[in-house]
């Protein structure tokens, strides 16, 4: 990272640490939502932006992360402090298994297969009523009291998201991340150069799934509920859109996108019922005229 | 009838044609010679509007066609029989021909089938299952049905058995007698020069030489550019 970028990140962290003492609680929650969304979007972007694999099924892993925490509480399987770290592991394991199947298909068919898996898990969550409470979802005191109060909850989320993003950043800028980009640019050539492309794609899918699962577990910390729509394909579209609006070709893009999306959403939902219209129009404009996303508007900041 | 004046053509950022100029007069058969990758196909694509020229002008019968869409260029009287297996393979031969026929010109399906009687025999077959010679026939027939006054032929002998190449020469002479002008890109120099009035030699996106058939047949460049003789290379002892 360039010095300027380091300074920027440090400054942003300072602002975020100060936030609970400055912002009203309502806005603190918006910010917390934005942090979780940022992780979800950055994790999805490991596939979409870095590897060139368009997945419309990342909500499956997000939802599995959320359900891990919620089900562990509902059935008294494990305490929160065990269930929470287990969430990304279980989501990653499911991603490994589904990825091994979905990655047999290419491009559009891959996107649709991930969508099918996401819908399959959605149906499971809805129909396994005895286990999941079905469409009613699970809600209750599944999170330690400490994390429910605004400031500690915010700091917990901030700490987890920061650590996870640091790790993701590391992965994106490691040789592995470089290999993923090479796959995105020219899959055949990457293979001809000796790269085991299929293994790398599966590794990326698994990692992305694990980080999405972590984001889902954080969602539960925040809202103390899990319900089937968390696994739906519409939910899967969200991190992709956030990443695209922010800019998929840089690491920072999805983070800016998440901040922008969450604030715009929460502000507009109050003002107008046309949030979807605004989002659609914005996405249309970005896709047609600003394929680099929000980050491409900043001068001299192409790579993050 | 066709004037190509100093066109530049790019694929993305790579500069493929650099100031290519050539002309075809009514009734002429012109051959464009050059190795693979010399820019012959790109020249044809630019003339037909498939890869529009970024600079320069293309005029056909004194009408500017440089920026017209391909179908408008076809309707202006230019036809292209492209190289390779460019047929609608899932359509039958009859469907291919019906699709290609435009009204208001001398070529009807009946007349084309009279020129290529073989096509009538194989009319119900899917084009994907034709032999190389049959495909070439169908491609030319298709181009004729668009009623061109100037026909562009890209590598008509490519992949054809020698017998079929001779036959192709016969068809082309027949078409020429019908008053059609022809611009043909070929690697088979002897075949092309036996038919043509004049020719151009292309190399690396430029026109290297222009001349009559007899001039080109004897030109030393032809031997060096198309055949096997080594050329002097000045700075080559690195």
């Amino acid at each position: 990272m360039a010095t300027r970028a380091r300074l920027g990140v440090g400054f942003a962290l300072l602002l975020l640490i100060a936030a609970p003492w400055v912002l009203p609680t309502a806005w603190l929650l918006v910010l917390e939502n934005a942090l979780v969304l940022a992780l979800f979007a950055a994790a999805t972007n490991l596939l979409v932006g870095w590897t060139g694999l368009v997945s419309f099924g990342q909500a499956a892993f997000y939802g599995i992360g959320a359900y891990t925490v919620a089900l562990a509480w509902l059935h008294g399987i494990a305490p929160f402090w065990l269930a929470f770290p287990a969430a990304p592991l279980i989501a990653g394991l499911v991603a490994l298994l589904t990825g091994a199947i979905a990655l047999r298909a290419r491009k559009l068919y891959f996107a649709l297969l991930t969508l099918a898996f996401s819908e399959l898990f959605y149906v499971l969550a809805e129909q396994l009523y005895d286990i999941t409470n079905g469409a009613n979802g699970i809600f209750g005191a599944m999170v330690p009291d400490l994390l429910v109060s605004p400031r500690p909850g915010f700091y917990f989320t901030l700490a987890v998201v920061t650590a996870a993003l640091a790790l993701l950043h590391r992965i994106c800028h490691s040789p592995f991340g470089l290999a993923l980009q090479a796959i995105r640019e020219r899959r055949v050539r990457a293979e001809a150069l000796g790269l085991a492309v299929a293994h790398h794609e599966l590794a990326a899918f698994t990692l992305s799934g694990a980080f999405c699962g972590l984001a889902g577990a954080l969602y539960v910390v925040h809202d103390q509920t899990a319900y089937p729509e968390l696994l739906d394909w519409v939910k899967s579209g969200e991190p992709v859109i956030v990443a695209v609006i922010g800019g998929i070709s840089s690491f920072a893009g999805p983070l800016w996108g998440a901040l922008f999306y969450q604030i715009a959403h929460d502000a507009l939902v109050v003002l107008t019922r046309d949030w979807q219209l605004v989002l659609g129009a914005l996405l249309l404009l970005v896709v047609l005229f600003r394929p680099g996303g929000i980050v491409s508007l900043f001068p001299g900041r192409e790579e993050g | 009838m066709l004037e190509v004046a100093a066109i530049d053509v790019y694929y993305g950022t790579s500069h493929i044609l650099q100031g290519v100029s050539l002309a075809v007069r009514a009734g002429e058969v012109i051959v464009l010679l050059g190795r693979n990758g010399a820019g012959k196909t790109t020249t044809f694509r630019a003339v037909m509007g498939l890869t529009p020229a970024r600079r320069g002008d293309i005029r056909f019968e004194n009408k500017a066609i440089t920026h017209l869409p391909p179908h408008a260029i076809v309707r202006a009287g230019l036809g292209l029989a492209p190289s390779g297996r460019r047929l609608f393979g899932n359509l039958t031969v009859a469907e291919n021909l019906a699709l290609a026929e435009l009204p208001g010109g001398p070529w009807t399906r009946g007349r084309v089938l009279a020129l290529f009687p073989k096509l009538a025999e194989i009319a119900p077959r899917r084009a994907a299952f034709l032999s190389g010679g049959e495909q070439q026939m169908l491609k030319i027939a298709r181009a004729l049905l668009a009623q061109p006054r100037l026909l562009l032929l890209d590598e008509p002998t490519e992949g054809l058995a020698p017998v079929v190449v001779r036959e192709l020469g016969g068809w082309l002479r027949g078409m020429r007698e019908e008053g059609l002008s022809i611009l043909m890109a070929e690697q088979n120099a002897r075949f092309a020069l036996a038919l043509a009035d004049r020719g151009y030699v292309m190399e690396k996106g430029r026109i290297l030489r222009e001349g009559t058939t007899s001039e080109l047949l004897t030109a030393s460049e032809l031997a060096t550019h198309l055949a096997l003789g080594p050329r002097q290379r000045p700075a080559e002892n690195a």
């Binding site: 040789p175 592995f176 990457a190 | 490519e158």
Partner: protein
């Protein structure tokens, strides 16, 4: 000289059409060997068979004694056969240095080992130094920070070769290395091939339409036509071969 590549009875059929129809030839270690032939002769298919992008219908391909016919492309690459492509296939959005580094680390076997930092995994400065050496060797040191899509055509082809070299090949396969190049770029490429064969003791097998290039640098030439070998020998004998002349000039109608 030892035989590095031994192709015997190679056949590739697509449906009923034999694109490669019983091709046999040998490439001696350390030599510069050309495969030529008119358009559609089967050169591209032959190269795809050698690199594993097609599986042969019949025949064997031995690289240093080991049969590589039908192996996956990345396996063949790891066994020491690298190629540069006819249509330039560098990675457009990566910088020149990044993609040469990638090509070097792609030789590392597992994704998991690649998760750490770049320099550490590469074993310290050594590999980054190798990147710089390679860049200097192909004349790209000055444009190392640029994205490949911003390079000239000649530089892209040079980068293509650098990527192939990064796999530390024994045999370098070049598919029409000077296609679409200006005369100046062509000379640069020819000089580079000769330098690589000389300094790196690399075996080079290439296809080419520019006969000046073919005859000025090849030690041995294999001519194929309609999927078969019709002549083989040094420049003089191939030039003198009447069948070759027939194939290239065509017969009058």
């Amino acid at each position: 000289m030892e035989t590095l590549l031994d192709v015997a009875g190679l056949v590739k059929r697509f449906g009923g059409f034999a694109a490669v129809d019983g091709v046999s030839f040998e490439v001696a270690e350390g030599s510069i060997h050309a495969v030529i032939g008119p358009n559609g002769a089967g050169k591209s298919t032959l190269f795809r068979l050698l690199t594993g992008f097609h599986a042969p219908t019949a025949g064997t391909i031995r690289l240093a004694g080991r049969d590589i016919a039908g192996l996956a492309p990345h396996r063949i690459a790891r066994l020491g056969l690298a190629q540069s492509f006819q249509i330039t296939t560098v990675f457009p959005k990566l910088s020149v240095r990044e993609q040469v580094a990638f090509a070097l680390i792609a030789q590392s076997p597992t994704p998991w080992r690649m998760l750490g930092g770049l320099v550490r995994v590469l074993g310290g400065q050594g590999v980054m130094a190798e990147v710089e050496t390679l860049l200097a060797e192909v004349g790209l040191a000055e444009v190392a920070e640029r994205r490949a899509e911003a390079l000239s055509h000649g530089d892209q082809r040079a980068l293509d070769v650098a990527l192939a070299l990064a796999t530390r090949p024994r045999l370098l396969l070049l598919d029409e290395p000077t296609a679409g190049m200006s005369p100046f770029e062509t000379e640069r490429m020819v000089a580079m091939i000769q330098r690589l064969a000389g300094a790196r003791r690399l075996t080079v097998l290439f296809s080419e339409h520019d006969m000046d290039v073919v005859f000025s640098i090849s030690e041995r030439i294999t001519v194929i036509h309609r999927g078969r070998v019709i002549a083989e020998g040094d420049a003089a004998s191939v030039q003198a071969d009447p069948e070759v002349a027939e194939v290239y000039l065509g017969s009058a109608a």
